[in-house]
């Protein structure tokens, strides 16, 4: 098997806050293969957005800082790249789309102005050539009347149209990797379906890899090939999408799956008891222990579990599966 396109190893990121240093990511690891759509799920505040933004090195520093780990992209460690090279990579090889299409486009410039600017930031193109590239891309995301979209200001477009513009803008330089940070969360369900279909189609056509951040297991099932589950700044389980739903190994993943409305027909919605621990003083040992139905003293509260392989394409970080097992 080829080396993965993106290989994040033991990434640790922290933020300075008034209450203290928040360790938002703690040795998080995952890979995204060539042409693969990788889901990254977890509840709000678990660090999934920070992880995807760290890949582009666009977390604000200060207060944030990347404390350790590696982000290997096409064999190079992004964390060691000089600023200039990192800038050239952004939008050209790795692109990103965001949750809020309302605020993600600059309100005082036209769509055309902003799209052409991205093209011309990465290659020397005349205004007309840049416009042609924009029109082609707007067409690819199935926006009707691309010419009038180019002339429009963001506030003149609907949320779905804006998100398509964002996708067109992100893919205009034909990147290898798209980081999608909850791109459908702010959209209504029908528009969400259209956006997912466009992403799936473009990924297939351009050989694009996507790291798809979401908290919606339904979207994961619909779109992704593999999934990484995050909890409190750590990746706790990685598996192909079939295994995650059929045989979730980590107690947290099991809780997530059980929380999907409509899967259990008991009428009452399941919720994982407790709440996410503070990233400033996370519990020692396994971070999920305070909420875990299987937690035991000893190992769970003292030692952070390592990732172990439980099936060919299925790893989990839980003491239920560590080699020594639990007493």
């Amino acid at each position: 098997m080829n080396a993965p396109l993106l290989d994040i190893r033991d990434l640790s990121v922290s933020f300075d806050t008034y209450q203290g240093r928040a360790r938002v990511l703690e040795k998080a690891s995952l890979t995204v293969n060539q042409g693969e759509i990788m889901g990254l799920v977890g509840e709000s505040g678990c660090g999934k957005s920070v992880l995807s933004r760290s890949v582009l090195r666009i977390i604000p520093t200060p207060p944030g800082s990347i404390d350790g780990g590696q982000i290997l992209f096409e064999g190079r460690d992004l964390l060691r790249l000089p600023q200039g090279e990192m800038r050239r990579l952004r939008g050209e090889r790795i692109s990103m789309i965001f949750q809020e299409p309302m605020n993600s486009l600059n309100p005082v410039f036209t769509v055309g102005n902003q799209m052409r600017e991205v093209v011309r930031a990465h290659r020397s193109a005349s205004r007309a050539e840049a416009t042609d590239a924009c029109l082609e891309m707007l067409d690819a995301v199935r926006l009707p009347e691309p010419r009038s979209v180019l002339r429009a200001f963001p506030h003149e477009l609907s949320g779905g149209m804006r998100q398509r513009v964002m996708i067109a803008m992100a893919l205009i330089c034909n990147p290898a990797l798209l980081l999608a940070d909850e791109p459908t969360t702010a959209l209504d369900v029908t528009v969400q379906g259209q956006i997912l279909a466009i992403l799936a189609e473009l990924a297939g056509r351009q050989g694009l890899s996507i790291l798809f951040v979401t908290h919606d297991m339904g979207v994961v099932a619909q779109l992704c090939h593999r999934v990484a589950v995050m909890y409190a700044g750590q990746v706790v389980e990685i598996a192909d999408v079939g295994s995650i739903f059929a045989r979730p190994a980590h107690p947290y993943t099991q809780g997530l799956i059980a929380s999907i409305p409509g899967r259990v027909s008991s009428g009452e919605l399941y919720a994982i008891p407790g709440s996410v621990p503070s990233p400033i003083e996370p519990p020692p040992g396994c971070r999920f222990r305070p909420r875990c139905p299987h937690a035991k003293g000893g190992g769970c509260s003292d030692v952070a579990p390592e990732m172990v392989r439980v099936a060919p394409d299925h790893s989990v970080a839980c003491h239920l599966f560590t080699s020594g097992g639990l007493p």
Binding site: I58, M96, F98, N103, S104, L105, P107, V118, A121, H155
Partner: protein, 336 residues
């Protein structure tokens, strides 16, 4: 085109504002106790002499009649005759207003040319050395009284260092450039008299800085805070994620957005600069409106007071209109 219709609408709407201003000013200046005729002839003049003066200036007629007479003259470009010096008020304004306007505009240019870059620098290097320097500079600016600052500037640059002249618009021995606009800087450029331009600028810099410092400080703070707010917006993250250079992100994407609150403050400041020039003009013996207006008020010179007030309110209206039009250019979400 829509903008043009909007400007016309705003200009028409300014007419009732100005009429209102004229009525108010007229009433207030006539309601002040004191008799301009008595001031003209002096405290020891006879009753007859006072009556004669009153008649001569139309001060014996009822107020509404006086007002209508005044407004009729105004529409013909006649602001009446100064009671104090018997010159047409239009002529006085033409003599004194350009000096004040030049000082005010120079102050505004200083405010923007220094305040905006300083504010941007402070925002981009937030909580670092440049930000602290800008903060100290601003705090000193808003807390220094103008008269004291003026005196200190004179003491340092005129008396001790001898780098800059201390008073007036020109050296006593020089004569002004051919009057085209009445603004010496522009007139000197038009006359291609570079030596004179240098002289004019050297006279302008101290009073302009003295007048602008407070507003310069305010603009620096406004630009800083609006820049910080804008730099935290999602579209700034998008711009960075799309590989735009830091300079483009700051100077194109963030700057235009941060200008919207800045323009508001700059417009207000310009109005206040225009009205606030009196102290500065006094300290630097600047032959502008300030002294003229104070003298007019002291001698209840109605036509002069009216003339100045109308001119100043027209300037306010024009400035406000300018600000509103600028909004439309800066922010496409505003449509009229």
């Amino acid at each position: 085109m829509r903008i043009l219709a909007y400007i016309i609408k705003r200009v028409l709407a300014a007419i009732p504002v100005l009429i209102g201003v004229s009525i108010l000013t007229f009433l207030i200046s006539h309601a002040i106790p004191g008799d301009p005729a008595r001031i003209i002839v002096g405290p020891k003049a006879s009753k007859e002499a006072v009556e004669a003066i009153r008649k001569e200036h139309g001060l014996d007629r009822p107020l509404p009649v006086q007002y209508v007479r005044y407004m009729t003259g105004l529409l013909q470009g006649d602001l009446g005759q100064s009671i104090r010096n018997h010159r047409p008020v239009t002529k006085d304004l033409a003599d004194f207003f350009p000096a004040t306007l030049e000082l005010t505009l120079a102050s505004l240019v200083l405010c923007l040319a220094v305040g905006i870059p300083l504010g941007i620098l402070a925002a981009v290097r937030r909580n670092r050395l440049a930000d602290h320097v800008a903060r100290v500079f601003s705090v000193i600016g808003v807390s220094t009284p103008v008269f004291w600052l003026g005196l200190m500037l004179l003491l340092l640059f005129y008396r001790n260092l001898g780098w800059l002249p201390g008073s007036g618009r020109l050296d006593i021995t020089s004569s002004p450039p051919a009057a085209v606009t009445g603004l010496y800087v522009i007139d000197a450029v038009l006359a291609r008299d570079w030596a004179l331009l240098k002289e004019v600028l050297s006279h302008l810099i101290l009073p302009a800085f003295c007048l602008s410092y407070v507003y310069l400080a305010v603009i620096t703070r406004i630009v800083r805070s609006s820049m910080i707010a804008v730099l935290g917006q999602d579209y700034i993250t998008t711009a960075r994620a799309n590989g735009l250079s830091a300079a483009r992100v700051v100077f194109k994407h963030a700057f235009k957005n941060s200008l919207i609150p800045t323009v508001t403050i700059a417009g207000l400041s310009l109005g206040e600069l225009l009205g606030g020039a009196i102290l500065t003009e006094t300290i630097f013996a600047w032959p502008g409106m300030g002294k003229y207006v104070v003298d007019s008020i002291n001698s209840l010179d109605f036509p002069a007071i009216m003339g100045f007030t109308l001119l100043a309110s027209t300037a306010y209206v024009v400035i406000n209109l300018g600000v509103d039009v600028l909004y439309a250019f800066l922010n496409p979400r505003i449509r009229y």
